[in-house]
């Protein structure tokens, strides 16, 4: 499509082995959305400011707009499509979602906190969530939803 030779990639996506040929200029975000049809991950700013495109790479949140697709070769990628909707209850009831543009990224970072609660020994939820911008909620609902999911909020 762009005149560059395609690069072969193999990686794990939400637990499944995937092998594809990717445009060397494709970002992970492009590979997910346009080559693999996984459109749950959203593009917000496209320059690593807003976190809407957050996915996990080898267990850590990353902005998929800032990762060349070829760099996930051999890695484990986890996207919003892996998340059981039943887990989203606390976010829905705390007012953590309005327009929804940031929500897939918010969920992926929030899930990382839920699955790694030891992070809270050194970090506050608000600091860990600082890479996910939301222009609707004012953030308190997001923090409250994560606290509720952690069971640390009465």
């Amino acid at each position: 499509m762009h005149g560059s030779p395609e690069l072969p990639l193999s990686f794990t996506l939400n637990g499944d082995a995937v092998s594809v040929e990717a445009d060397p200029a494709a970002r992970l975000l492009d590979l997910l959305r346009y080559d693999l049809g996984m459109t749950g991950t959203k593009e917000g700013c496209g320059e690593g400011e807003c976190g809407a495109c957050t996915v996990w790479i080898d267990g850590l949140p990353a902005d998929s707009c800032l990762v060349p697709a070829f760099q996930v070769d051999g890695r484990e990628v986890r996207t919003i499509e892996s998340v059981d909707p039943a887990r989203l209850g606390p976010l829905l009831s705390s007012g953590a979602t309005q327009c929804g543009a940031c929500t897939p990224g918010v969920v992926m970072t929030g899930l990382w906190i839920l699955e790694n609660p030891g992070l809270l020994r050194s970090h506050a939820i608000r600091e860990l969530m600082a890479g996910n911008l939301c222009r609707c909620t004012g953030y308190d609902g997001i923090i409250e939803g994560i606290e509720a999911a952690l069971g640390t909020r009465s």
């Binding site: 762009h2 560059s4 690069l7 060397p24 200029a25 494709a26 970002r27 320059e47 690593g48 400011e49 976190g51 957050t54 790479i57 850590l60 949140p61 990353a62 902005d63 707009c65 800032l66 990762v67 060349p68 070829f70 760099q71 070769d73 051999g74 970072t109 990382w112 050194s122 600091e127 860990l128 969530m129 600082a130 890479g131 996910n132 911008l133």
Partner: protein
Amino acid sequence: MKVERPRALAAALGLLGDAAAPLVPLAGGTDLLVHWPVRPDARTRGYLDLQRLDELRGIRWSEDALELGALATYWDVITDSRVGAEFPILVEAARQVGAIQIQSRGTWAGNVANGSPAADGVPVLMAFGAVIVLESRQGRREVPLDAYYSGYREGARREAELIVAIRIPRRAHALQRFVKVGPRRAQAIAKVGLAVARSEEGWRVVAASVAPTVRRCRAVERRLEERGLPGSPEELDDALRADVAPIDDLRSTADYRARVLARVLFDATRKGGA
């Protein structure tokens, strides 16, 4: 667009230095991917992906130095309790780089190579007297970070070289402080950055966003050595004027930067250790 993805450092070095096919080293991508691939030259450039070079990963300790491999990320440093105990401002600075999504990918070596005058990682490294380890087919050489930059985004790395490590001498510090002044606390680029360290070798003062490069403030260091702690921020003005040259730009003004730098420096030298 050409991408090379070698699996060994020797192979990577073998690909560098070909004037007909220059390659841009790519580590975490958090700088190079901004505006990618919209920039037309991103499509015609060649890149050298470093992510398969496991030799460059991680943090190594020796008796007299902490060595960050070229692929060591901010998150690697944040989660290393030994770094937190011995070099707390390395962790503090890392925690102020973007947020986890950037910290998990961005590398210290990339921050050095990118050469931004507003870099968050470079000031603390320079305050600790870090040395940049460069390697090419011809061998290794080492450049002190405070001698690495020759101008705006101009570093000592030659086309044939790769930054393979950053070596930080282990010294006892009586004081270490890092201050980042930005428009907000998270996800911001510095209007003023400052790192201060005091060891048996004396004061080291490094400022960011107030000169074409991150700048070691030698006049300020001399002022502190010869005349002790300042009684007011204004007492630092003459030395600061000799060291830095802030400008008006999209993020701040020269006047604001000069005033704030003097005040955060005054504050940093007077408070106890970090």
